[in-house]
């Protein structure tokens, strides 16, 4: 029997923190389309159940059109059950509606159990009221294949855990073969106890540059009392963050070359950010805007984050007889400025003396 574990889809996100409105809207649609693809994949592969371990929606208020799309996708795979656990983002979202499809099931604030052959899938939504007691009321038979679904940060404590945290210490020894978690947006798994593992499936699509790496779902295969898991990359686009050390670069051309080397082999369909690091002379013209535009056509989305530091030859300017040297000395002597400010001021002043505009 095949079961899919996914989470943190965050349908209906704004995404404007990272992208302009146009790209944000497009990515939003792509996230929705990915969910539809997931439902279709579940149908075509004969998946028995799809576990959504929280945060299906990004916020409480969701457009009706989006809810209709989700319901339609679920209804389109009538032989697959969609087991839905609300997360911290969508706990107040009015979903599912009363006339939900028959194959959509919801986990409540008490343990809710669904049996499929010799597999039991149990899930519970953590609240302030049940966060302490919930671990004591979980009841799983040792002879069955048990999957538990929860949403929250992972903690290990024998004491009281925060209400939105999953205390895996208290889940150990509960006959859990697979703890399907949501909340953390990157795929991660580890041992739970002697019997089972816990796993964050991560999100289906990276929505910003803080969600880089492969995204997808976990495919579980339950066969004769055994359960195997495999991460399946499923995102339409990958979010890739690369570093390019441009220390010593003479100018824009060198930086362009460094970026070109860094992004080699990256597919056109991806969202790419290049972090420029290293020490640069203040005179070095980086041309970030120009380079961003130059590489923009090669990818779905391209951005540069300038994390370079200004290299100041303190020795050279200590006794240097020039306006530049005097300027550097003046800045360095200003106790009201921190190091980062000093670097920026020096870089700006030197670029200005060179007739160049300096942008942070």
């Amino acid at each position: 029997m095949k079961i899919i574990h996914c989470a943190d889809i965050h349908l209906g996100s704004a995404l404007t923190a990272h992208f302009n409105k146009e790209v944000a809207d497009e990515r939003n649609n792509e996230v929705t389309l990915t969910f539809e693809r997931l439902a279709e994949a579940a149908r075509s592969q004969g998946v028995r159940a799809v576990i959504i371990a929280g945060d299906l929606f990004d916020q409480k208020s969701v457009k009706k059109s989006l809810i209709d799309t989700v319901l339609k996708a679920i209804a389109g795979a009538p032989d697959t059950d969609f087991l839905y656990l609300k997360g911290n983002h969508d706990k107040d979202t009015p979903f599912p509606p009363e006339d939900m499809p028959e194959n959509l099931k919801v986990f409540g604030t008490d343990w809710t159990y669904f049996d499929y052959g010799d597999v039991t899938i149990a899930g519970v939504r953590l609240t302030k009221e049940n966060c302490a007691s919930v671990y004591g009321t979980l009841n799983l038979k040792a002879g069955r294949t048990n999957i538990v679904v929860m949403h929250g940060k992972l903690v290990r404590t024998s004491g009281k855990a925060p209400e939105d945290a999953v205390n895996i210490l208290k889940l150990a020894g509960k006959n859990i073969d697979y703890l399907a978690l949501g909340d953390y947006h990157a795929y991660q798994k580890d041992k739970l106890d002697g019997r089972g593992i816990y796993c964050y499936s991560g999100c289906l699509e990276g929505r910003g540059f803080d969600e880089f790496g492969e995204k997808g779902y976990v495919l579980l295969e339950c066969k004769r009392g055994n359960i195997s898991d495999e991460f399946v990359p499923f995102a339409k686009r990958s979010v890739i963050v690369l570093e390019a050390d441009i220390s010593g670069a003479g100018g824009q051309a060198d930086i362009e070359k460094a970026i070109g080397t860094a992004v080699q082999g990256i597919g056109k369909e991806n969202l790419v950010r290049v972090r420029l690091t290293g020490l640069l002379s203040p005179e070095t013209h980086k041309g970030i805007n120009y380079l961003t535009q130059k590489f923009a056509d090669r990818f779905y989305y391209f951005g540069i984050k300038d994390e370079t530091r200004v290299k100041i030859d303190y020795e050279a300017c200590k006794d240097g007889v020039s306006l530049k040297s005097e300027f550097i000395r003046t800045v360095l002597a200003d106790a009201s400025l921190d190091e980062e400010q000093k670097e920026h001021i020096i870089a700006m002043g030197i670029n200005a003396l060179m007739g160049e505009r300096y942008e942070l």
Binding site: Q59, V62, G349
Partner: protein
Amino acid sequence: MKIKKCYIENFGVLSKRAFDFDSGLTEICEENGMGKSTLAVFIKAMLFGFDKNTRKDLDENERKKYKPWQKGNYGGYLDFEVKGKLYRIEKSFDDTEGDRVRLIDLASGGDTEDFDKDNLGASIFGIDEGGYEKSAYLSQRDPSCFKSDRLYTKLSDLLEEENDMGSYEDAMKLLEEAESPYKKRGGNDRITAIENEISQALSDLAAAEKHEELLSQAMPDKDALSKKLEVLEAEQKKANAEYAAAIEWEKYKRYKQAKDSYEAAIKDKSVAEATFNGKIPTSDELDDIERKLKVIDLEQSKHDEAKAELKEAQNKQNLLSAGETPEQKRIIELKELLFKEGLPAEGEIDEAIKAYRKSSDLKARLSEPLPPYKPDYKKLFLGSKVALSLAIVGVIVLIAGILIEILADRIAGKVVYAAGILSFAAGAYIVIAKYLKGKNEHSESHKKSVRGEYDIEEKKVRDFLARYGMTEKDPFEAIMQISKKLSEYVALSEKVSDEAKEAAEKIEELTLKIAEAENKIIGLKTEVSLYLRERGEEADDLYQAYKNLRDRLNIYEIRRGIEVAAKRNLENCEKPEREFEDTQQEYDTRELRQTLNKLSADIDETRKALIRLDNDIAYHTDYAAQKCYYKEKTETLKERLKKEKYYRGIVQKTKACLEKAKNNLAEKYIGEIRYAFGRYLSVVTGKKIEVLVNQELGYEIHEGGQYRDIKYFSRGYRDLFDICQRLALADALFKDEKPFLILDDPFKNLDDKKMQAANKLLAEIASKYQVIYFVCHTSRKLGLS
């Protein structure tokens, strides 16, 4: 730094030449074109290389200018000492292979990295070629090669580093431009703009949150309405079932009723049919009978009418025969009264009238005035010869008398004159008398004629009237009366005659008519009677019998119609699905219908309310769904605001630091420069010179009791002052490692007196610097080496 010696392989006009240099002053006096300037440029090239440019102007492209025409290595070496250590810089300039440079430690003989061999000058002195040229190298070009007299500008020029594209002013301008978006007034600056955007985003967020709140309030209402709808629909279902049963019962009742009615109708019809003895009359037949009865009545009426008329006609005929009619009596009366003598002949009355009219005319003419007498004047005047003669004579005598009176004797004239008058008068008298006579005769004749006619006509009228005994009346009235009576008499006679004839004809006609009618009546009666009898009517009164038959037929038709209608009704009746017991209770379908209607209305209302609520929920949801977008937008804008403020701060701070650096720089050197400058001026002028450096770093020299701008001084003095400035700058700039000074004939413009001053100056600086002094004229030799 001190130059020890140099060897030129090939450089400009110099080829395989070596030069040694003194540690103090080295004077090289050679003619023009011998290579003094070339040597100076060689030394500069060894220290700083060539300025990389591709300009065609040789004066600006030294590399090209000093490329040797002959073959061989383009370059050489320079030995120098820095801090007691000896070095050699070897350079070979090659456009094809690239320049070769070596910096050799002469002590070890190996290459050294103590200094940057590619930028030796900057590495040793800390200034670039430009700075070196403007301080330590005084060329033949105008010494005042600074951009302006301002010390600071000289300092800036001096202190600008290689490849700097801008100056302090340009840099500040750039920073101003960077700051300008933050300084716009009226709230148009970037910071305010972002703050406004944040404000708007917060407002939009608040609105989205409000919608979310409204959404939360709407959801319970929706649940309640949904529950209500459920309940109503359940009730409706139940009511529908009951109503359906009621409808079925009604159906059953209707069907049974229709069936009973049909059976009763058949029975009634059969009863009515039986009375016709098997011969059911048709409506057309009865119409025909009725028509015949009417005809009988009509004929009877005609018969009776004709009979009455016949009697009347016979009576009239009798009267006429007896002469007893009123008309006949009147005829007799008229005859007695007027026409005993007989009737007037045709036209006689008209004649009488004519005579009467004529006599009346004549009588009127008698009393009319006579027509005017119109005599024949010709005959009157000319007919009487005597009268005429008397008149003529009279006129002649009169004229003669007048003439005599005038011409001759008055008295005689008068006499003659009088005689003339008398003659004329006599003639006139005769004429007048004739006229009067004629007139009288005319009048008498007329009267006589008229009277005669009148009498004749008058007699005619009288005679006519006398025949009818009407002489006493007015003649005209009498004539009219006679005429009238005559007309009456004639008319009555004609009438009587016509009436008699008419009566006879009528009697004949009526007799025929009566016979015909009687025959017709008898025939029709027989026909009708037979028809009625066959269909069961034996009444003597045929009309009554017909009516009875008609009634019976109507009844039969009605019953037949009822039967057909009952059958149709039964066929149209929906057959019930089931039978009901006779004891079945009645359903109050009206009440059930009302209940159903009310439920339907309630359900409809509830559904509408739900739709409205759904619309509200969708509306609020759409807005509330924007919440995360506005939230993120607010965060992004706040972040951006923070960055912009930081950037603004950096720009402002950069400006402040740059200005401070400029001032520091100026202040750092200004004192020294002023002191050194004053000292050098004193050497040159031989007296203590006060120098004032103003705020713009311009300087003034105290002369003649006040500080004067340098422009007040002569050109020669100004050249000297410039050299002093450059030396003062060099003093200020090169504290640690003093450079050598190359003076390439800088005093060529000075007169003898000033040349002496220049000598003193050179002696002064040679004590501190290694000076290489080029000159091309012996008059400018110093003789101090």
